[in-house]
């Protein structure tokens, strides 16, 4: 059975109204249209769609349950990937880059003539960088995927974006903000430690963002 453009539009509207996340929509929409090709030609389009939803998804109300399962799977997958990326900087061969980064950062901070103010702004950039990644993700969702619909991973990205702001702004706001003592000499180990943690956090988040669009061709 081959649906007309109008019938396709009706199905798209129905699924958009029923489902929240674009990943669930894409998967269920493809499933229904593929299954439609195997439906007998002597029944109406509406009956064919009802048959598919009833046989393959149990019930129209069950679509939301299916979507919940899809969402949980995608979020868990993203969390697993994020921690795998983080871990890769502390296991072979990534650990060598991290150690090199630690030594270079220590040298950079202890021998550079940066004022405490500039070092403060370097850290401020690390805290804000996840928000930049978040904005890039929003832009690419519209530009590459040509949609503004919600993703099952949105909330997770918002959390990852918010963590450095919450954790980073507290010391910035309360620890010697006025005279930047924390960024001054004798604190280079501390500065290096936080700098490397910030860089690794952002690199892992950037890889997670790239992963989402790696296999996402535009329609």
């Amino acid at each position: 059975m081959k649906p007309t453009d109008e019938q396709l539009k009706t199905l798209q509207d129905y699924l958009h109204e029923t489902l929240v996340y674009r990943e669930a929509y894409e998967e269920i929409y493809d499933h229904i249209l593929t299954a439609l090709e195997d439906q007998p030609g002597n029944i109406s389009y509406q009956d064919a769609i009802n048959n598919i939803i009833r046989n393959d998804f149990g019930d129209p109300k069950n679509l939301l349950k299916v979507e919940k399962g899809i969402k949980e799977g995608l979020v868990n997958d993203a969390i697993r990937k994020y921690f795998a990326y983080l871990k890769s900087y502390f296991t072979f061969p990534g650990i060598f880059y991290t150690i090199t980064g630690v030594m270079a950062s220590y040298y950079f901070f202890s021998y550079s003539a940066f004022s405490p103010g500039i070092i403060f702004w370097i850290f401020a950039f690390l805290v804000i960088a996840p928000s930049v990644i978040w904005l890039m993700r929003l832009y690419n969702t519209g530009y590459i995927l040509d949609t503004t619909r919600k993703s099952a991973r949105d909330k997770l990205f918002e959390t990852f974006t918010g963590v450095p702001i919450r954790i980073g702004l507290i010391p910035m706001a309360f620890i010697n903000l006025t005279d930047y003592k924390i960024w001054q000499e004798n604190n280079y180990y501390f500065i290096t430690l936080f700098f490397v943690i910030g860089v690794v956090y952002n690199l892992a988040l950037y890889r997670l963002y790239k992963d989402e669009f790696n296999n996402a061709p535009a329609i």
Partner: protein, 112 residues
Amino acid sequence: MSTNPLLKGSLQTIILKLLEDNDEMYGYEITQKVKEVSDGEVMLTEGALYPALHKLEADGFLETFTQIVDNRVRKYYRLTERGGKEVTSKLTEARAFIDQLQTLLNLKPAAK
């Protein structure tokens, strides 16, 4: 899925085995393959398939990629290296379970 609860509990094993035999498959293809190999006796319904697929993906046993087919996104699943090892483990478990069941229900004499 089929109303048989034993089969419901084996859904992940079935999916992993199908992907081992077929390299890469999409959701509907999996439902059809299960129907085909079971002569229509087993049908994946009640929305059990997609949550199971995404659970396997979240556990790192499956990876996905998408292709555009007829102007829509199609998501394909394939085994990861870890998933390949998991198939062997799940099949061993399934065989052991079937053997135990056969023994317990006196369907065959206990192996000595």
